[in-house]
Symmetry: C2
Subunit: 322 residues, 2 copies
């Protein structure tokens, strides 16, 4: 296997060469714009790395990796409409720069383009790739629906929350890795293990994101600190705090949620979460899923040498200041 | 081949048995609702009929036919949002009965479910089915974008209009038929011919729809007569009228478009279109595409006996009072 940057440079070149038709302009220009916004491209790198780990050159998995990235961008474009998000990666979202109709239809065609990229893989792999992709894509939509449902629900328990982030974000990491495994003709057992690795990595990563949102270094986090708590978003931290405070009459988490001053609200939340042990709990959960991920990786029937880049990538993902 | 009703009853039973998961409710209930609204189910019947025409039992093409119907319903749910349509088949549209976000996400998952149905066909057929489906699905989105673009454009020529209806509605008829042909292992040549049949049938059918909107029998048409002209929709009739009136200073079509009284506007449009020969022109165009469709069907290398149901179906489609 090669260092992360090799995969990264290769993928950036390939997605840079990927082009949409010129017309209808209102359908394809938003997609050119959105794909150029970049992002970490973690998912397609997972596909390429998994392919090489299982013994196939990364070039053999390029269309599958593009499919994953196109799908991810489709889901962002549509999620941004639903979330009424003004910005994505610091730039205007498609529905704001154009309009909702264009964001709906451009998103639709991007989803289809993802399938079209997948269909360029070798025909003998297509049925397996398609099954994995369909199942994952359905789950991502289910996760997004659960996320929206949670906003208006009074009570959400932690199992439901984990299930939501598993569907909304983690299964796609598993799928990305399985794509590489399918292309490299890995065994069923290894496909299951690499999927477990990706899924648990994804859950751990999302929990880290919940932690960083409140406790991250503003310089390194790249987003506004405290955004989740300001909007009373039901993250793992808040849900655990609510659960614990039911039995602790002195720390009223519900009252904290009503504070209007942002700075005061963030400080109050932090001190409340510290008292309740919520930060420690979240870190333990994160480590739990990380460990599950790494032990699945360990079981895969290739040499540790071949697993190095994936281990490095997971370390890179959890390097951010907590 | 069997009579139309055999296919129709078979498909209604199959789609009746098709079910979505129960949860998340807000994702799947709108789809249960929408699919139960019914419709003519022309597209899936085309798949089943084509399969049998080329020598495969209709049962072998059931998943492909479901894929076509699910895709068609996906496109209707999203189009209804963009068109701000309150009603579909006489009932509330999804975005109105629920909301835009739910209509977007339910539509997304329905598109994926269409791919999932397709993936249930025999693995050896999947690459060809997937290619056809991807190409068609992209084109349908392009057609919808062109249709939206036309609304705000001052000038649209007739070639552009035909291209728009070809993409937005006709290619899916071609695709539906090719699905049947692929499942029955028809030759490349026959696949091209059946596609040509479907595509031209679709264009002719859409032109008939334009004609019926103004000249149809209200009892038989099932929609409000004159809806297109009331909303100044750029149909083949209006575009031809605008083209012809450029050289005819006496009939000012542009002035007619400003009439506010609906009854007066419809009457004025009709008399203007008669004077300009627009109705005759549209009928000629419809016949032209119908003839192209039927001559492609004639060339297909199966006995005329085997083509009977498809001929009957096209006759049924053009039976409506013009």
């Amino acid at each position: 296997m090669q260092p992360i940057t090799t995969y990264s440079l290769y993928f950036e070149k390939e997605i840079g060469d990927y082009s949409f038709p010129i017309s209808p302009e209102n359908l394809y220009q938003p997609l050119d714009y959105f794909l150029q916004l970049g992002g970490k491209r973690i998912r397609p790198l997972l596909t390429l790395m998994a392919a090489e780990m299982f013994g196939s050159p990364k070039e053999n998995a390029i269309h599958a990796s593009l499919a994953v990235e196109l799908f991810h961008n489709f889901s962002l474009i549509h999620d941004d409409i639903m979330d009424k998000a003004p910005l994505r990666r610091g730039k205007q979202t498609v529905h704001l720069k154009w309009n909702d109709d264009i964001a709906i239809l451009s998103g639709d065609v991007l989803l289809i383009k993802a399938y079209q990229a997948l269909a360029k893989q070798e025909p003998r792999h297509i049925p397996a790739l398609l099954d994995m992709f369909n199942r994952t894509a359905v789950e991502v939509c289910e996760g997004q629906q659960m996320d929206m449902d949670f906003e208006s629900r009074k009570q959400v328990n932690i199992d439901e929350y984990i299930e939501m982030i598993r569907l909304k974000t983690s299964v796609l990491l598993g799928c990305a890795l399985v794509f590489g495994a399918i292309v490299a003709d890995a065994s069923e057992k290894d496909r299951t293990l690499i999927y477990t690795f990706g899924q648990n990595l994804g859950i751990a990563f999302q929990i880290q994101d919940d932690i960083l949102d409140l406790y991250g270094d503003p310089e390194k986090f790249g987003k506004q600190i405290g955004g989740d708590i300001i909007s009373n978003k039901k993250t793992l931290l808040l849900l655990k705090a609510l659960e614990l405070s039911q039995n602790n009459s002195e720390s009223n988490v519900l009252e904290m949620l009503l504070i209007e001053d942002h700075v005061l609200k963030i400080e109050t939340a932090k001190s409340m979460f510290d008292t309740l042990g919520v930060l420690t709990y979240a870190r333990e959960q994160m480590n739990f899923y990380q460990d599950m991920a790494l032990s699945a990786l360990k079981e895969i029937s290739v040499s540790p040498e071949m697993k190095k880049t994936l281990v490095e990538l997971s370390e890179y993902l959890f390097q951010r200041e907590v």
